[in-house]
């Protein structure tokens, strides 16, 4: 198992390299560059080429693509994440600022959706065909199929604009002094994100649970005279858990990358909304860093999922 984990971690390196190169290439292929974003087209025409080139040189944009990539990579290897092209802010500082916001939102949603998704999914499966099951199933379908932004806007309309219980967006308010002061801000985005994520987990848990309950070993467990809770939870849910863990594991990257849409809708100053504006302004170093972080998060999550599955399901072996 240890060698497997080490090997998987080693594989991450070439994968990260390839992906980082592709992202860089993708940025290169989009029209314009950071300078063309800084200066409006009208001004562009009145500025001499020399001056623009000087600006490019000062931002290190004049080098050929591959050289720039190489410089960026060297910086990364030395633990220097670089500076945002647009504003010159150190990228680690930007991330240090945005990551807590994203974590705060996503962690709430992840924990909430895991717990409620599993509980509701199991109830739904155990009461299969009942009104409870039908209500939950329909709700779950809605939850999965309604786009996040729509759900978010409806929530804002009702709770912020009509009822005025909660703020429309943002994370902190001027004059806050403790974490709890901004609790009202996190409630709505976290709940909206949670509910959307819960719906997915619930549907998954339900079908996985139904699958487990139809297995012969459930009958064996009953034939041993075990109480129903033990049959359903220890024998049914324990087995049903594996695919649910996989689903949740693959959602872990949201902790790092944030939910781009929810962050936009709720003006949440997290990594997701930062990414959008960085892409818009072709801020290569920032885009690269966030993309790379997300990729690493995805790869790590998949490794984590593998390890967890192996821990949970003795049939899965990692040391091959």
């Amino acid at each position: 198992m240890l060698t497997y984990v080490i090997r998987r971690i080693l594989i991450l390196i070439p994968m990260a390299l390839i992906i980082s190169f592709l992202v860089y290439l993708g940025l290169e292929l989009t029209p314009g560059d950071a300078v063309s974003h800084m200066i409006s087209p009208e001004m562009m025409a009145s500025i001499s080429a020399e001056r623009l080139d000087a600006l490019r040189v000062s931002l290190g944009l004049e080098q050929p693509f591959i050289v720039r990539y190489w410089i960026w990579l060297q910086g990364m290897l030395q633990g220097n994440f670089g500076y945002s092209t647009a504003g010159g802010v150190a990228i680690h500082a930007i991330l240090a600022d945005r990551l807590p916001a994203t974590l705060e939102l996503s962690a709430v949603a992840l924990v909430f959706s895991t717990i409620f998704g599993c509980v509701l999914g199991v109830i739904s499966a155990l009461k299969r065909g009942s009104t409870t099951d039908n209500v939950l199933t329909v709700t779950g379908m809605l939850g999965v199929s309604i786009p996040e932004f729509f759900f978010g806007l409806v929530a804002i309309l009702i709770f912020a604009l009509k009822l005025q219980w909660l703020p429309v967006g943002g994370r902190l308010l001027p004059g806050y002094d403790s974490y709890w002061d901004h609790l009202p801000h996190v409630i709505m985005p976290a709940l909206v994100l949670s509910i959307m994520m819960t719906a997915g987990v619930m549907r998954y848990a339900r079908s996985s649970m139904l699958d487990a309950l139809s297995k012969e070993y459930i009958k064996t467990a009953r034939s041993k005279g075990l109480p129903e809770w033990r049959v359903n939870l220890l024998h049914g849910f324990r087995v049903a858990l594996t695919p649910v863990i996989v689903l949740i594991g693959f959602r872990l990257p949201v902790l790092i990358g944030g939910s781009v849409i929810i962050e936009q809708v709720f003006q949440w100053p997290g990594v997701g909304s930062e990414f959008i504006s960085a892409v818009r302004s072709q801020d290569y170093p920032l885009v690269m860093m966030i993309a790379l972080l997300s990729v690493m998060a995805v790869l790590t999550a998949s490794l984590l999922v593998d390890i967890l599955t192996a821990l949970i399901d003795p049939r899965v072996r990692l040391d091959k």
Binding site: E42, M43, A86, I94, L172
Partner: protein
């Protein structure tokens, strides 16, 4: 853009400008409208409206806002930064910090046609228009308490000469100053057309620029001491722009990038201390996607928009008032107007 094409575009643009200037009387002037919205909590106390994309004499110091439950007068607006404060020479009046944190030598009226002194106590334009001098008020200070001097103004002008990210009107004016080209291409160490004398800065122009006064009603001097040894091209990358220090009626108090920025009255402002206790600005560009949401939640007391859909929605909110402002504007399409070679 490949260089030859850009060169051609540039020449063409210059030709068009020349033609425009020659034919000024015959060119139709278009109006675009811009809409200033205000909540009913805000009172301009008699100050008028103007071209909100620029800086004009809007009397923010006299504005009042209905106090909130704590008795605090807070004005909510937008155009706060997401990652850094943009330096004020590019998009002159778009950002709230350009409007309230930085002052200018002159102040324009709402239509940007007549000017009066602001940081300057007085100004003088020579008969031929080739020499312009500004005398600063006595005892001006930056928000950090250090004196605002003609050296700061000169440094700002010279720095702006070196960088492309400057509004074209401003850029045109400062490049018309005598010795500007030699300075910006590195062949001279100083600008021969800038002379300092006590509290007075005198600019001598190599070519006549009709927009000098407009420029200096929009061009914000910066405190030079925060930019020691800076490569002018990298000015935007300076850490100064995480929490800038200006000379305007409000100073930046708290910045949560991409979340909010607060500004409070500058107690030593020469024009008196502003009556509003705090400005809270939420991040946005000049088009604010969250405007309606924030307005609905009473978190947009002032701002401007060009989005007509937003305007009609704002007008439907009984606590919002929308005032249109005309912005004279020429924009034409030229077809086969310049040689194709």
């Amino acid at each position: 853009m490949p260089r030859p094409i850009r060169q051609r575009l540039k020449t063409a643009y210059a030709d068009i400008q020349k033609y425009e200037n020659e034919e000024l009387d015959t060119i139709p002037l278009y109006y675009q409208q811009l809409f200033i919205y205000e909540s009913n909590r805000v009172n301009r106390n008699g100050h008028g409206y103007g071209n909100e994309q620029y800086n004009y004499d809007w009397g923010i110091v006299d504005w009042t806002v209905e106090p909130d439950a704590d008795g605090k007068k807070v004005l909510y607006t937008n155009t706060a930064p997401a990652q850094f404060f943009e330096q004020p020479w590019l998009n002159l009046g778009i950002w709230i910090h350009n409007k309230v944190v930085f002052d200018h030598l002159l102040v324009a009226d709402g239509s940007l046609t007549s000017f009066s002194p602001q940081l300057a106590e007085s100004y003088n334009v020579s008969e031929d228009g080739m020499t312009v001098s500004f005398t600063l008020r006595d005892g001006l200070t930056w928000h950090d308490g250090s004196p605002l001097t003609v050296e700061d103004v000169a440094w700002s002008i010279k720095t702006a000469m070196m960088i492309p990210t400057v509004n074209p009107v401003v850029s045109n004016t400062i490049h018309s100053i005598e010795g500007a080209d030699a300075y910006s291409d590195g062949s001279a160490d100083d600008v021969s057309g800038i002379a300092l004398d006590g509290n007075t800065i005198t600019l001598t122009f190599a070519k006549l620029d009709p927009n000098v006064l407009l420029t200096f009603s929009q061009f914000a001097p910066l405190p030079a001491k925060y930019f020691p040894d800076i490569d002018p091209l990298q000015i935007q990358q300076s850490s100064f722009w995480q929490k800038p220090i200006g000379s305007g009626p409000f100073m930046v108090k708290e910045v949560k990038m991409n979340d909010f920025t607060t500004m409070v009255p500058f107690p030593d402002y020469f024009g008196g201390v502003a009556k509003i206790d705090e400005i809270v600005a939420f991040p946005s560009g000049d088009g604010d996607g969250n405007l309606l949401k924030n307005a609905g939640a009473h978190k947009a007391d002032y701002g401007f928009t060009k989005n007509t859909a937003d305007v009609s929605a704002l007008e439907d909110m009984d606590f919002m008032k929308v005032t249109p402002a005309d912005i004279p504007y020429t924009r034409m399409m030229w077809i086969n107007h310049y040689p194709m070679k």
